[in-house]
């Protein structure tokens, strides 16, 4: 059995993602609220493993997610908009994660931070029994941020991508491309 089937057959409650159409669908109002939602994404204080250290670091000096209005880490899931799944999701944690996702009031966004949350990362091997191989087996994921763990800049970029997904445009300038260094010359004999 591959991973999703195994999880479906186990006793975990799975999150359902159903997006109902809005009752009042006026385009300028929708645009206005979407803009406001994108500019104040409050994450939930939810760290699972070492990627959580990067999540802390992104809210501190030098990186400062507060510049984009996303530093209000809410301890209660009812007041949060964004769930950063930072780290390895073990099978013990999976029911709690699904329950937290379902307790979050809409509109809600999920960011899978780090390789473990994306695919199981280094813990994925034949015969492993404790790890959920990818958090998208449990809850719908909006943005994947790769890295092991991802740099704080990458997490910032993930927040920008969610903003782009909500509003349909990128708000901040693209980072400068760092030219890759040529491979070191091997001395020929």
């Amino acid at each position: 059995m591959d991973a999703p089937d195994r999880i479906l057959n186990s006793s975990f409650p799975l999150a359902r993602s159903e997006v109902k159409p809005p009752l009042i669908n006026i385009k300028p109002v929708n645009l206005f609220f979407d803009l406001n939602r994108a500019m104040s994404l409050w994450p939930v204080t939810f760290g699972l493993a070492c990627c959580a250290i990067e999540m802390m670091s992104v809210s501190m000096a030098r990186f400062d997610i507060a510049r984009f209005g996303a530093e209000v880490f809410r301890p209660s899931i009812r007041q949060a908009d964004l769930m950063m799944v930072t780290g390895t999701v073990s099978k013990k944690m999976a029911p709690a994660l699904v329950r937290l996702y379902e307790q979050m009031p809409a509109p809600k966004y999920v960011m899978a931070c780090g390789n473990c949350a994306i695919s199981g990362g280094p813990f994925k091997f034949e015969g492993q029994y404790g790890i959920i191989e990818g958090v998208d087996n449990l809850v719908p994921v909006d943005i994947y941020v790769p890295g092991c763990p991802p740099r704080p800049e990458a997490i910032l970029e993930g927040v920008f991508s969610i903003q782009e997904k909500i509003t349909g445009r990128r708000w901040w300038p693209q980072p400068q491309e760092i030219p890759s260094e040529p491979p070191p010359a091997v001395a020929k004999k």
Partner: protein
């Protein structure tokens, strides 16, 4: 009838102005607090949303407006919806007797401070209702903490204010301001420094601000009494918290810092300057000091503030008796 038609119209206009003041105050203070937190931690704070992040607080409030309102199962939904409203509405009444300026007082009553202290209790009731109605163990624990904390810190607060009331011989806030002079050494702060200190400490405890924010201690109780509130319910609690902060700071400015009297140009701007300086002081200590434990919190109150305030009251009474 003591209230004539003119007074009635004045009060209605004042209530509308106070609603505006509360909303503007919350927007400004959310921005100022996040910015100050940033500067204290050597980061810029909100920066990109609007010039220097000035639109940030408006974005937050609009987002909270558009958030799903969630009613958990087994909730007493009447109380669940009544609690945030009850947190918000009494504050309107509390601002009425505050003399912002010589002519800017909505309700000139002789027992102004009595009115404020009596109706300030509604804030605690809203916290209890929120914690009880949301059917959540963390909410209930936060509510229990809010009660014991507010009841404890009200007593030294009243004792500290009583010292000034003894000195002035009046509970009328306008008269209290008029008895003080324009310069700092003529303020009540100069003759009642201990009462001022006790009042400032209890004022932080009374408004549930850090380092005394035990009712919503994030590390122990998920978010305390407003754990189950999403969207506008949470926003109303936030609004009333900032309005309560402004209220206690206005009372402090009136009682100890000379109210609308200043070295030059008496007017309502002095009240606002002093009140907002005190608000920034509260924000400053919030981001500087760690949270105290609950037994420490009550020990500070019952073992230090209460005996000190009784001592202050006693000394004030004795001196007044001998001076007379």
């Amino acid at each position: 009838m003591a209230l004539s038609l003119v007074n009635f119209v004045v009060v209605i206009a004042a209530v509308l102005l106070i609603i505006g003041l509360m909303v503007v105050n919350a927007v400004i203070m959310v921005y100022a607090e996040r910015k100050t937190a940033g500067f204290i931690q050597r980061r810029p704070g909100p920066y990109e949303v609007g010039p220097w992040g000035t639109v940030q607080a408006i974005c937050d409030s609009m987002k909270l407006l558009g958030k799903q309102i969630f009613i958990p199962g087994n909730v007493d939904w009447i109380l669940f919806f009544a609690a945030p409203v009850l947190a918000f509405f009494p504050v309107l009444l509390l601002f009425l007797p505050i003399p912002f300026g010589p002519y800017l007082t909505a309700l000139k009553v002789d027992e102004g401070i009595l009115l404020i202290l009596a109706f300030a209790g509604f804030g605690v009731i809203s916290n209890i209702l929120a914690g009880w109605a949301s059917n959540n163990k963390y909410g209930l624990l936060g509510a229990a903490r809010a009660v014991s904390q507010s009841v404890a810190y009200e007593i030294p607060m009243i004792m500290a204010l009583l010292g000034v009331i003894f000195l002035t011989g009046s509970m009328n806030l306008t008269q209290i301001v008029e008895r003080q002079g324009a310069w700092p050494w003529q303020w009540n702060l100069a003759v009642q420094p201990l009462a001022f200190f006790i009042y400032v400490v209890s004022m932080v405890g009374e408004t549930n601000r850090a380092p005394f924010d035990l009712p919503e201690a994030e590390s122990e109780l998920t978010a305390g009494f407003h754990t189950e509130y999403s969207g506008m319910g949470f926003a109303l609690f936030f609004l009333s918290e900032y309005a309560n902060m402004l209220l206690v700071c206005c009372v402090c400015a009136t009682f100890f810092l000379g109210g609308w009297r200043g070295p030059f140009l008496d007017g309502f701007w002095w009240t606002f300057i002093k009140a907002y300086a005190l608000m920034m002081f509260i924000v400053w200590i919030r981001w500087t000091f760690p949270r105290v434990r609950f037994d420490q919190l009550l020990n500070i109150n019952w073992k230090w503030l209460l005996p000190l305030s009784i001592l202050n009251l006693w000394i004030t009474a004795v001196i007044l008796k001998f001076v007379d």
